[in-house]
Symmetry: C2
């Protein structure tokens, strides 16, 4: 048995405009790296965390990657111990599934070391154990599923968990602008209305139907028309300075659509060519900088692979 | 120019469980027939209506097929007059798009007679003029679109109208049981709640996403799991005697899913084989008859053609 592994798990965009709590997709970068070493002595420990500015706990029980790893090791009846290093390569609280990437990387890594006893789909509940720590309640599977399965996923149901991968056009590029502001996921959920208008819900599921049909058939016009969120974006965007301006510049640059990634503050746009994705990215960054906020820019295809072994 | 035409336009199932107000599909039968005769003398008249038990008005301005025809004739600048016969081959107020079938048949017939100046999609707004009379308010395009375009349609948006046809598996059979009770469409809309829980809406659009993905990829399991309506069916089904029993027998017989067609009282089920569709139909009829309600049974593939010229 291999005694040491280093893996990468990607960031992910969830909600995807109209698909609040039911859609997500993985991107090529950024992402997190995890190193696992199998030890003879039982017990799970985190020996090192980098890139977190000292914010993440070394206690495995309180750490998303740690809690996920503990749950999986217990399920698989692992007798050995594990020592884990976590290398955050993405900002915390960015709306890009940072905690999910670490949780996925840890369970993926252990499953690989042990010769893949579980399928990727079967790993979802274990990675969710880590998400429980972040959201302070019932965790959602959107980032976990997108990161773990790769590609574009639908989380049709959370109880029971029903996750489906769908085909997307080969040429579909994602631009992400991450304004350097931290947003607490729990807060962004609290500001949403518990009740919504049926008429708005109908608009939303019309767009959901259109988006899935557009993605599976490669109909870019339909994808663009369907990337509209009348429920969540109007509320959450208030927390993101310059959101409307940034969105408009992306659309003017030719992006198919633009909305909030996860609960923000990251903003994503989808485009049918890399040229447009870059043009949109430059325009979005310029709009962000014009209101004196710093940001990171990422341009990527939809990542169909999910987590991968580095060494 | 041909002076006389006889056309058929099919019934349609709308809402399709989770897809309230955004989905629909045409079936092979029942449906309505319309005969149009071009006259030299201007003016639109209805010379005969059969199969309506005397319920429909002969005044074209007050008749769904008449109002649609008037709107299209005006748009096309028709100088001639038209005499129309309407042969209802389906019950009124059945939840199978009876008024839509007549409206579609009339505009389709005139468009054919005039050498197809408009596409089927372009005919939608004219057929909607007839629907305005039935619903007593803003008409919805679901039955009209499914009937006119054929196949399975998504009405992504009503303003502007955005209707999309999606691919469905070749083997997908629809069973319809029409309990002989009349329900007023306007009333069935009034009993719905104007506000719904966001959590329920999320379940619904998860199912919408799953259903569209299942249909476009031929994933029967996913279609079945997605045919769930947590918003409208629980309320409207109260108006349909024996609904839960009929639904359960359909599912026990192996149907993928079962729900209300349109605003009811018709109940539809989808199955992956004709054998199951028939078995479900027999079981559903038996359940209906056991509560001493009479009904009609229809079994059909999804009708990909829409309206057609008979002679």
């Amino acid at each position: 048995m291999k005694k040491k592994i280093k893996v990468f798990a990607p960031a992910s965009v969830t909600n995807v405009s109209c698909g609040f709590d039911v859609m997500g997709f993985a991107i090529d970068w950024p992402g997190d790296e995890i190193v696992l070493k199998i030890k003879d002595k039982p017990g799970i420990s985190i020996s090192k965390i980098t890139g977190d500015n000292g914010k993440l706990p070394l206690d495995p029980v309180k750490n998303t990657a740690g809690a996920s790893l503990i749950a999986l090791a217990k399920h698989l009846g692992l007798k050995n111990g594990i020592e884990m290093e976590i290398h955050k390569k993405m900002a915390l609280g960015s709306g890009l599934g940072s905690s999910a990437a670490s949780a996925v990387a840890s369970v993926f890594a252990l499953n690989e070391l042990l010769g893949k006893p579980l399928s990727r789909k079967e790993l979802i509940p274990f990675a969710l154990e880590g998400e429980k720590l972040t959201c302070g309640g019932t965790p959602h599977a959107d980032n976990i599923s997108a990161c773990l399965m790769g590609g574009f996923v639908i989380v049709r149901s959370m109880n029971p968990i029903d996750v489906v991968n769908i085909k997307t056009p080969d040429k579909l590029y994602c631009t992400i602008v991450h304004p350097k502001l931290e947003i607490n996921t729990a807060d962004t959920r609290k500001i949403l209305r518990k009740q919504i208008l049926l008429a708005d819900a109908v608009k939303q599921w019309g767009n959901v139907a259109g988006l899935i049909a557009g993605l599976t058939t490669g109909n870019y016009g339909l994808i663009g028309r369907s990337l509209q969120d009348v429920i969540v974006e109007p509320i959450r965007s208030i927390l993101i300075p310059g959101f409307n301006k940034i969105k408009n510049t992306a659309l003017e640059a030719g992006a198919l659509g633009c909305s909030i990634s996860g609960s923000g503050p990251s903003i994503f746009a989808l485009s049918k060519s890399e040229t447009i994705a870059k043009k949109a990215g430059d325009a979005m960054m310029e709009a962000l900088n014009s209101i004196e906020v710093d940001g990171d820019l990422y341009i990527s295809k939809i990542n169909k692979q999910g987590p991968k072994v580095i060494s």
